[in-house]
Symmetry: C2
Amino acid sequence: MARRRRSSQRVTMGEVAQLADVSPSTVSLYMRRPDEVSPRRAEKIQSAIDRLGYLPNTMAGGLASSRSNVIGVIVPTITNSFFSATLETLERHLRSAGYQLLIGNTEFDESREEELIRSVMSWNPAGLVLTGFLHSRKSLSLLANSDTPIVEMWDYGRPGLDMVVGFSHHASGRLVAEHMLGRGYRRTAFISTNFQRDVRAGDRYLGFRETIEAAGGRVVLRQLSGRSDTAETGRLLGELIAENPGIEAICCSNDMVALGVMFECQRQGWPIPDRLAVAGFGNQDFTASTVPPMTSVEPPRQEIGRHVARLLMARLRDGTTPQEGNLDLGVELVVREST
Amino acid sequence: MARRRRSSQRVTMGEVAQLADVSPSTVSLYMRRPDEVSPRRAEKIQSAIDRLGYLPNTMAGGLASSRSNVIGVIVPTITNSFFSATLETLERHLRSAGYQLLIGNTEFDESREEELIRSVMSWNPAGLVLTGFLHSRKSLSLLANSDTPIVEMWDYGRPGLDMVVGFSHHASGRLVAEHMLGRGYRRTAFISTNFQRDVRAGDRYLGFRETIEAAGGRVVLRQLSGRSDTAETGRLLGELIAENPGIEAICCSNDMVALGVMFECQRQGWPIPDRLAVAGFGNQDFTASTVPPMTSVEPPRQEIGRHVARLLMARLRDGTTPQEGNLDLGVELVVREST
DNA sequence: GGTAAAAATCGCAGCGCTACGATAGCTAGC
DNA sequence: GCTAGCTATCGTAGCGCTGCGATTTTTACC
């Protein structure tokens, strides 16, 4: 059995050069700008590469050029279809342009964000994508000393560090509220994942509440202890209605919470929307198929990914920021039978 | 306006050394094994680091040491709670040991896997985590020339490249089948996401079918065109029952599909489980709260992450593989009222 | 107080590549 | 046939760190 061979990456550019009978510089040039080497050598080099199974050493390249093809992306959690859909789109667009995503999870913890930013910045990244506007003092000072392009995504309406791509959560809440008022509901509740974990749910709540109250309605708030959990949601709804039997409509901070509410209504025999109207946020796939189909807000998950990629690439290509470096992609209310 | 400052990472180890009045080597040693430098200098170095806001250059370090703290992880999609929960756990465990995850998405495309493996290997990673056993010839040859530790996860029962952490999908299907047979169901159907996208769903189907047929039952198969989609699921179920009115139980390739089935039953007024029994796979949070609560298989999402991290770290620490380098974590059937 | 051993520090030679100026090879034009 | 003006290739000097052997300082003990 082979005892620990040299290293996992053995063939170097020099060996390729030797086999192809050119200088290492020519191989390097071929790798970076193939059309600048003559067809004859290009072919020889390529066949040497194939024969040796050469893989360039990204670290050496990055060090020498003091640029990297890394783009750091920091999200609260990848276990959430909101961010994961954005990540997937972002990844697709950036990878096709030769970039590599370095993904970090804060798990909704500000100090972890700081640590992640340090860790990502140590790669000398070409760009950095953060979620939202909330960053610790230390994170900010880390970023202040760098000229790495930064995009803050998934929120809008506050001054950003550099570029911003998102939408207003406050406006999303308002949109649902206006719809409910239009349907004649005044006595409402907002059931939410915990605001500590998810500040943006808090903004949606504020938008909802301000609009309902401005029209003379009332909003009762209930927060889950942590992430969306259908069992806890059911319990919370039960208590809520026991204490406030007059409530006519529930706005939920996301579709999973709304699903929990709908199941509980079904269990209790409360007809939707006649006894209780329900709206979600996220417009996930299943919302169209619940019984009755669920009214929900569609956030621009994929569009965010697309535009973040676009802005970043514009900046990296020519150092400029398109005039709309601050982008509100808006949301759309999808009205179905649950309200 | 400052015209493009030097680079986003300016302060070097040498500058820290100068300010702390020690040699660069000592700073390097301090960064790597702090307890080997005297407390007096350690303190001076640390304060210089703080004052200058020094961030080590990961690429330079990686090049010099020809090791990296990168671990590549390649999954079909992060937009799926199965893999994202594993990723989150894996990330937490590996990061706390100083590793950095490089995540790649194949989007269920074999050629993309190949490209991702190339891209990850060019980072000279400390380890590589793949999903499943299915890899293209080229991918295999890329991996054969390297001595990077590899873990294949989320499946079990075939010979792996190196280490394996997962469970048998075939056995999962069998488990559901045995349960259904125990309940007296013989005329069944399997509704699934497309096997092209998800080979493992195909294995669950085979396990289910073999067991049902061995007991003299029948299984009708329906595949969705792509990923789980509740609307399409409803349509498929309608057709299925129209053509096979005798069907008593449906096994679904995952919980989202099962949810679609349950909604359609509700819409059609078919009582669950009396007219139709339904089981899912994944035991997602909402399964406990559907009406009626859904029977589902619980895969070891987080455990996979934990054990992958453990095996990888054992190998990286002392070059050994724990004797159980091939790990079947098993699954558990959670029986609820839907069957 | 002197010395050997141990601990702390330092200096230097790369890691594998890129950038850039220098050189060689070619093409056209007269 | 010679040269200007290209284009294609090459040589060299780092990028910022680590690893290791050499050197200095400290510790321990007679």
